[in-house]
């Protein structure tokens, strides 16, 4: 079981390091941008010049 303890100890060290990095980057105040991806995901580009004749949406 003691191996587990050792492993966990190291993990906490790494995790703590990450936390610091996380806080540091948050403090840099780089909270902006973040809009275009939400729009871009809406476009599924169809290959140019391709029309599927079998696909006919029903008329409203």
């Amino acid at each position: 079981m003691s191996v587990l303890i050792l492993l966990i100890g190291f993990s906490i060290l790494i995790a703590g390091g990450f936390l610091l990095a996380f806080i540091w980057s948050v403090k840099r105040g780089q909270y902006d941008d973040d809009y275009t991806p939400s729009v871009r995901m809406l476009f599924d580009d169809k290959p140019v010049g391709e029309e599927d004749p079998s696909f006919k949406p029903k008329q409203k």
């Binding site: 303890i5 993990s11 990450f18 941008d33 973040d34 995901m41 809406l42 599924d44 580009d45």
Partner: protein, 720 residues
């Protein structure tokens, strides 16, 4: 100007997972409906049909794990993969890295489900809720999960879109966390093929189990579905998500907080109080990121609510997100000790999980299926009317399910806690059971409506598929990924992580490990957390065998073994449970529901019954306790106890630290037979004739042992 690269999306894998979702969904829900009806018509329980040395049981205890495993890992699991394979390729503008891996993933997962469907009714279970599958299947799950992850990361690496859309972070977090959870919780010591003991014991096992259990809810039922919501809801509404920024914040907050919340399943139990408090705080705070996601989903429809009136897919999604909001409001409330004191062990919990399960997971899956199938078959949905019918009948079903269960839960708790003016418990336990029956009946009706809806969907989608033709490989084109990334000044910090999937994986891993490890380690390390009670001794071989029968039959699905420190419980069940009483319990069997009474002190004081009482009660519960809804276990009267397994079991227990003397396994069966003969003679005095080496004798021995250890002695807590 970059050149456009031509490639094709793999729709076949999406179709396969969609079919699996539909089929296993209907199967899992039907099993659910069946077990719900078993609580109304207990005489329908069939237990112990012999198949060689094993028995098939179609009783509540064995079928309930089948239901939970089927709807969680088969229905929702396949739903996750369907959504993943559809959205991942399109978001990353690439085909999956390997069709072969996709195929192995698909068939491997289906084989695991089939293995579960075979082993669970056979009573092969680890006895840990939502992790019942035995060790060979656990290994298979690990392998298939890694294959799935490998394929996903390889796809991310060959993507044509630098930015990782928010849904993909949720997918990654899901993959990583589920892997860790599964590995940690599945530490088992195999005794034979398809039989093992949890490596952890008692309170530690309970903590690991509910750390897993809660995070299974979090990372199997929530994060992947949030990812799916972030892809399919904007798609279905054809408008961007309300706030992309909010999605980032709530993602990080969610994965960071969720991992700490497990102990709220163990409030007022023998878990150290500090761990309980920690769980409460984080569970409560969880409402913020959860509602962040809910609000983000609902507000995506801002200015498009007219579409919801028209579009059945959006209707499903709106109900799903609303149910998510309700469940994640209720969750933090249930984590408060004062609320939990009422709700725990009652049907309130069942109502709560079904608002999440039927509402959030069910309705979102249906919405996605109605969206994806016509897309990949390039045809309109067969019938919008039927889909609308499905929507309404499913929504009604949820209401008919949840309302009676809330009522039942509250009623149950009130009756358990009621005292007369003379200070005596007002209700016998059985009175609370019979009171529940109408509620159980209405709940079954709700379930029936919901399953009916799913079957209508199956027909509707079948007709859609029959008229369309699968576009197995869908043409697409996108510019290649530019090789050099220019660093823009003042770039969002988060973007840098988004561009690097591997570091992102590591980072996510670390984030979830912090929570888990800090919570788990101290209980492993600090001895004072588990007071050693000198009078607590390992189970005798016969009791150990009895305990394995208890676990095989899934008794823990209806009976708790945990007396909480309330007057209403100590009056009914005796002294409240201590952590030190469970140190030899591999696995712990505290349970999470009291459809039947608590059994932690079944062998003590005023709860103690004669061997003959137990014998007759197992044979025909209704005859001994009129109104009981317990399944009969009369097959145990004849079923021979598998004593050949005793030495291996004793050895396994000793390997895990249970202090059986060296070489005890060689004489264990002698002790077993001695104890069995004593019980046999007790029964004979009441003119009950039964062979000594039957299972009934073992289960009686276990029942009579429960809780007796601390009766012998005053508790001698190790004060260090």
């Amino acid at each position: 100007m970059q050149t456009l690269e031509k490639f094709q999306y793999d729709n076949k894998i999406v179709r396969n997972f969609a079919y699996a979702t539909i089929i296993w969904g209907v199967v899992g829900m039907l099993v659910g409906l069946w077990v719900a009806m078993l609580m109304v018509f207990p005489q329908w329980n069939i237990s112990g049909i012999g198949v060689g040395k094993e028995t098939i049981g179609l009783s509540f205890g064995r079928l309930r794990p089948l239901h939970t495993n089927a709807v969680i890992f088969a229905f929702v699991g396949n739903g996750i993969f369907m959504g993943y394979y559809y959205s991942l390729q399109r978001l990353l503008k690439t085909r999956m890295a390997s069709d072969m891996l996709s195929k192995i993933h698909f068939w491997g997962w289906q084989l695991i489900i089939v293995a579960a469907a075979i082993t669970l009714p056979l009573g092969m279970t680890t006895g840990k809720e939502y992790a019942e599958l035995e060790w060979p299947i656990d290994i298979a799950i690990t392998i298939i999960w890694v294959i799935f992850g490998w394929n996903m990361f390889a796809t991310i690496l060959k993507r044509r879109e630098r930015h990782l859309y928010v849904a993909i972070w949720f997918y990654i977090a899901t993959f990583v966390t589920v892997a860790v959870l599964h590995l940690v919780n599945s530490f088992e010591y195999p005794v034979s093929f398809l039989h093992s003991y949890s490596w952890y014991a008692g309170v530690q096992d309970a903590l690991v189990q509910w750390w897993y259990g809660h995070n299974a809810v979090a990372f199997f039922l929530t994060t992947p579905y949030l990812g799916l919501m972030y892809y399919f809801m904007p798609k279905a509404a054809n408008r961007p998500v309300f706030s992309y920024k909010l999605s980032i914040i709530h993602f990080w907050a969610l994965i960071f907080l969720y991992i700490w919340a497990g102990p709220h399943h163990l409030l007022y139990t023998s878990l150290p109080n500090w761990a309980q408090s920690l769980g409460i705080v984080f569970s409560f705070v969880l409402i913020f990121p959860s509602w962040g996601g809910m609000i983000n989903g609902l507000l995506t429809l801002r200015g498009a609510w007219d579409k919801v009136r028209e579009d059945v897919i959006l209707k499903f999604m709106v109900v799903a997100v609303t149910a998510y909001g309700m469940a994640t409001f209720e969750g933090p409330m249930l984590s408060l000790k004062s609320v939990n004191a009422i709700s725990h062990f009652t049907d309130w919990t069942i109502a709560h999980v079904h608002v999440g399960g039927l509402g959030w997971n069910g309705m979102l899956t249906f919405g996605i299926l109605y969206w994806v199938i016509p897309k990949i078959f390039k045809i309109e949905l067969f019938s919008k009317r039927l889909a609308n019918f499905h929507f309404w009948i499913a929504t009604l079903g949820i209401i008919f399910y949840a309302v009676p269960m809330y009522w039942a839960g509250f009623q149950q708790a009130s009756m358990w806690k009621q005292f007369t003016e003379a200070g005596q418990l007002k209700y016998q336990f059985i009175e609370t059971v019979t009171y529940m029956k109408p509620f159980y009946a209405i709940r079954s009706f709700g379930g029936f409506l919901f399953v009916t809806g799913a079957i209508v969907m199956m027909y509707n989608l079948f007709m859609t598929v029959a008229k369309g033709k699968l576009v197995a490989n869908e043409d697409a084109e996108a510019p290649a990924l530019e090789k050099v990334v220019t660093q823009h000044h003042g770039e969002h910090w988060h973007r840098r992580i988004e561009r690097r999937p591997i570091p992102f994986l590591i980072v996510t891993l670390i984030v979830i490990l912090i929570g888990g490890i800090i919570e788990l380690v101290p209980t492993f390390l600090i001895k004072s957390n588990v007071p050693t009670i000198s009078s607590v001794k390992p189970y005798t071989p016969l009791e150990l065998q009895g305990r394995d029968i208890y676990r095989r039959e899934g008794c823990y699905t209806c009976h708790s073994q945990m007396v909480r420190p309330f007057r209403s419980e100590t009056e009914r069940y005796g002294e409240y449970s201590k952590a030190g009483e469970f140190v030899y319990d591999h696995p712990f069997q505290w349970g999470s529901k009291r459809t039947g009474p608590d059994l932690a002190r079944e062998g003590t004081l005023n709860l103690k019954k004669t061997d003959t009482w137990h014998f007759n009660h197992m044979d025909d519960p209704q005859a001994i306790s009129p109104g009981s809804i317990m399944p009969p276990y009369s097959f145990m009267l004849d079923k021979e106890l598998d004593t050949a397994s005793t030495p291996a079991k004793i050895k396994a227990m000793r390997a895990m630290g249970v202090p059986y003397a060296k070489g005890y396994e060689q004489i264990a069966n002698r002790d077993l037979m001695n104890q069995a003969t004593t019980i046999q003679n007790n029964l004979l005095n009441d003119s009950v004739r039964v062979k000594a080496n039957t299972e009934i004798i073992a289960i009686i021995a276990y029942m009579q042992r429960l809780g007796t250890d601390i009766e012998k002695n005053k508790i001698a807590e190790n004060k260090n």
